[in-house]
């Protein structure tokens, strides 16, 4: 006797006459639910895409201006009587004349050019120089010190225009917005217009923005992200040099050699926790340990790199362990089976197969570190720092420098709206680097990753 009733006992209900071509109510409900879910998914994707387009659009819109720069081409008479009255042509003697001494030369030359070009203006010579960057004098002085034979000649210089003139040429500044401005008046813009027609004012590619140094608050037109880029580069060298070997060694030990006990469990949990620690905490740690205890120099990329190493290590360890785990045990077993030692099995067979995953994790970790600002705040790398090119490799690590994201943050804080444009421009440069690094990670994964 089974629980099943005999076949004959079931009342034979006539099977409902339904066609597979017609859907019943429940199927339709299921189909609707699926269609709704698809619509939600697509909607979420679209919202994300719209934000991405808006973000990229606003970055490009605001930042592209930083890559062009207005210049004023002026023949400057480098008067011997002003720069080198004794006629010695000795750089030490010429060096006595500070940048303030060059302002008079620029003033005179600009007034002459304006008069020669037939520009009608009521501005006097002293006010006219407001259309030029205050860094023009330094540019002249540098050129003269580099080549003292220029003294006494008339040399044509491409001088930077003041930030507001630059903004006018780019359409950012208008006559109305200058109504109450103390730095430049609408009358200056009339002069700029006429000089532009006469060919003295031009707008060109701004390579200095990519290669140059930071400038003071009065000269946004001079500021560049180049030195900060070098700072970021040296920091990344430190990060790569320390976190890759340390991270890989730690992961191999934990994954392949360490006994599984409470201690290693604790270490594992802590590594996972470290990956989630806010980055500013690493900055405080860096300040306390590297600067105040170990007496490493402040504002140095070496310290920045060490702090970012701490930040990147957990990421690299986690990525490396995951890729070591992904190597099938059969590979280890086969190696051990033909008589390899454990170390040989790991280094000759497992590790090479895990390298693509390790590379990807490292590149992503570095990209993360490249974009970090918060820990750098506390170790003196945010501020007016990136103004000197490092003198050499050693100085690159130890002399004060900033980093790209720190430089962007610094510019965004400054009063002159022209710095705002630079900040957006800096974001574009930083994004290009991040994009390249992420692209490299994708390529490495595509090209070398093996699946079992």
């Amino acid at each position: 006797m089974t629980d099943l009733p005999a076949a004959g006992a079931i009342p034979v209900t006539p099977s409902p006459s339904r066609s597979i071509l017609e859907t019943d109510a429940r199927t339709r409900a299921r189909n609707r639910a699926e269609a709704r879910f698809r619509a939600y998914g697509l909607g979420a994707l679209l919202v994300g895409l719209i934000f991405l387009v808006l973000l990229l659009g606003s970055i490009l819109w605001n930042g592209m201006g930083a890559f062009t720069q207005t210049q004023v081409t002026l023949p400057i008479e480098l008067l011997e009587s002003e720069l080198d009255p004794e006629g010695t042509r000795d750089p030490a003697v010429i060096g006595e004349v500070s940048t303030f001494g060059y302002n008079d030369l620029i003033e005179a030359s600009l007034a002459r050019v304006v008069a020669d070009a037939g520009v009608q203006t009521e501005l006097d010579a002293g006010d006219l120089t407001d259309i030029l960057s205050s860094g023009a004098a330094a540019q002249l002085r540098e050129a003269v010190l580099a080549d003292p034979s220029l003294v006494g000649q008339t040399v044509t210089f491409d001088l930077l225009a003041a930030s507001r003139v630059d903004g006018y040429v780019k359409g950012r500044v208008t006559r109305e917005s200058l109504a109450d401005d103390r730095n430049l008046s609408p009358v200056h813009l009339d002069v700029v217009d006429q000089l532009r027609d006469a060919g003295f004012v031009s707008r060109g590619l701004n390579l200095d923005f990519i290669t140059g140094a930071d400038a003071s608050e009065k000269r946004p037109e001079e500021a560049g992200i180049g030195v900060a880029m070098i700072g970021s580069f040296y920091m990344m060298l430190v990060v790569l040099g320390l976190s890759l070997p340390l991270g890989v060694a730690a992961s191999i030990y934990l994954e392949e050699f360490a006994p599984k006990n409470r201690l290693t469990d604790l270490i594992e949990v802590n590594i996972a926790n470290l990956a989630a620690v806010p980055s500013i905490v690493y900055g405080i740690l860096g300040l306390a340990v590297f600067i105040q205890f170990a007496h490493l120099p402040q504002s140095a990329p070496l310290v920045g790199g060490l702090v970012l190493t701490l930040l990147t290590l957990p990421t690299i360890i986690i990525a490396t362990r995951a890729s070591l785990k992904a190597v099938p045990p059969s590979i280890r077993d086969a190696a051990l089976g033909v008589g390899a030692s454990k170390m040989q099995a790991v280094f000759h067979h497992v590790l090479p197969l895990a390298v693509p995953g390790i590379m990807t994790g490292t590149i992503i970790g570095m990209a993360h570190a490249l974009g970090e600002t918060a820990p750098l705040l506390l170790i003196g790398m945010v501020g007016f720092v990136a103004s000197n090119y490092p003198g050499g490799v050693v100085e690159g690590f130890t002399s004060p420098n900033s980093a790209m994201p720190a430089q962007i943050y610094e510019w965004a804080k400054r009063a002159d709206p022209a710095f705002y444009e630079r900040a957006w421009g800096g974001i574009i440069v930083l994004l290009v680097f991040l994009l390249l690094m992420n692209l490299a990670a994708v390529l490495v994964r595509r090209r070398f990753e093996r699946r079992w």
Binding site: T99, P297, Q298, L302, K413, P417
Partner: protein, 345 residues
């Protein structure tokens, strides 16, 4: 093979070797109001001298002075910028940490302006208006009451009919102290609130504290960031009024409209003559022990207060600094390296 040991030893070597590296650049930190002036001087210094350009960080007067007083040595900053004078407590901390000889350098004066959105109504303020708008307790009909005002026109019918919303510097900024002293305390006295507080049974200290106590119902907002943050808040809140440095306002005249204070329009001229009431001296503090050790420190300080830079026609004045009428005596202080006396409590 992996040579794990090598980077580790390299790190150990680096850690061991760097104390021997002498710092060859001047390190400055502190007030974000002084920061623009300091960067202008640092840049010109780098251009005109053979020393590297000094490193200048912001962070606020309080934070800068705290770092300054941490001690003497190459891994400590040389100069702290401050938009207020050093306090007695800070001086004592300095002394306790071995920062004994401090040179106080006054570089000039800065105005604090009240500004609103460019296309909004114009404001003509007095300190009394601000006290009535922001104090936690005010006096109404002789009684001390919790601040009832929500609209500027309730305080003074001459002011525009606009809700009260203020963005003032946070407590870590030196600007806040000037705001309290020159606006809130002055307004407290002028409205008779100080007397009323005392009359209501407070002792003098408590009454003075009550003068500076701000309302906490969201009308007064502390901004701990820089002036750009205040500007962004004004753009998001068209009825807001922000507190700015004169130099910042002068760089953003296309977006800001400045209010008069006691019928005086802020400008370098009206601040220099003392007509505009809300101004304060700007300082920086130098560790005497670092002079001669850090290359270029003395030269930087002398260059900062030279007539070419800090004088009435120099680039600092062009940026918005009100030149110190007693610049010559400041230059003398620097030349003699005269250490400051302990500030009064």
């Amino acid at each position: 093979m992996f040579h794990v040991k090598h980077p580790a030893t390299a790190l150990a070597l680096v850690l061991a070797a760097t104390p021997a590296l002498a710092r060859d650049n001047v390190q400055v930190a502190g007030s974000s109001t002084v920061l623009p002036y300091a960067t202008i001087v640092a840049e010109a210094f780098g251009e005109n001298f053979d020393f590297p350009t000094p490193v200048v960080e912001g962070g606020g007067s309080g934070a800068g002075l705290a770092r300054f007083c941490e001690g003497v040595g190459e891994n400590q900053i040389d100069i702290a910028n401050a938009s207020r004078a050093m306090r007695a407590g800070e001086f004592e901390t300095c002394q306790a940490n071995g920062v004994t000889d401090i040179i106080e350098v006054r570089i000039g004066y800065d105005g604090i302006v009240f500004a609103s959105q460019k296309d909004g109504p114009a404001f003509a303020f007095t300190p009394e208006h601000w006290f009535n708008a922001l104090a936690a307790q005010v006096v109404q009909d002789g009684q001390v009451v919790a601040n009832p005002y929500t609209n500027w026109s309730q305080i003074d019918p001459a002011l525009p009919d606009q809700e009260i919303l203020a963005f003032i510097p946070g407590t870590k900024h030196g600007t806040r102290e000037v705001f309290e002293e020159r606006v809130m305390a002055a307004g407290c006295e002028a409205t008779g609130a100080l007397e009323a507080f005392v009359a209501s049974g407070m002792d003098e200290d408590a009454a003075e504290d009550a003068c500076l106590a701000l309302r906490t119902d969201g009308v007064s907002n502390d901004i701990d960031g820089d002036y750009n943050e205040t500007l962004a808040r004004l753009e998001a809140n068209p009825t807001g009024i922000g507190v700015f440095g004169l130099a910042f306002y002068e760089n953003n005249t296309d977006r800001l409209q400045v209010a008069t204070m006691s019928d005086v329009t802020p400008s370098t001229e009206s601040i220099a003559t003392g007509e505009y009431p809300v101004s304060r001296p700007l300082f920086f503090y130098v560790k005497k022990a670092h002079i001669g050790v850090i290359p270029g420190l003395k030269e930087y300080v002398e260059f900062f207060v030279s007539d070419d830079l800090a004088g009435p026609d120099g680039p600092l004045a062009e940026y918005g600094l009100v030149s110190d009428p007693e610049l010559a005596s400041v230059q003398q202080t620097v030349a003699d390296e005269t250490a400051m006396a302990a500030p009064a409590e």
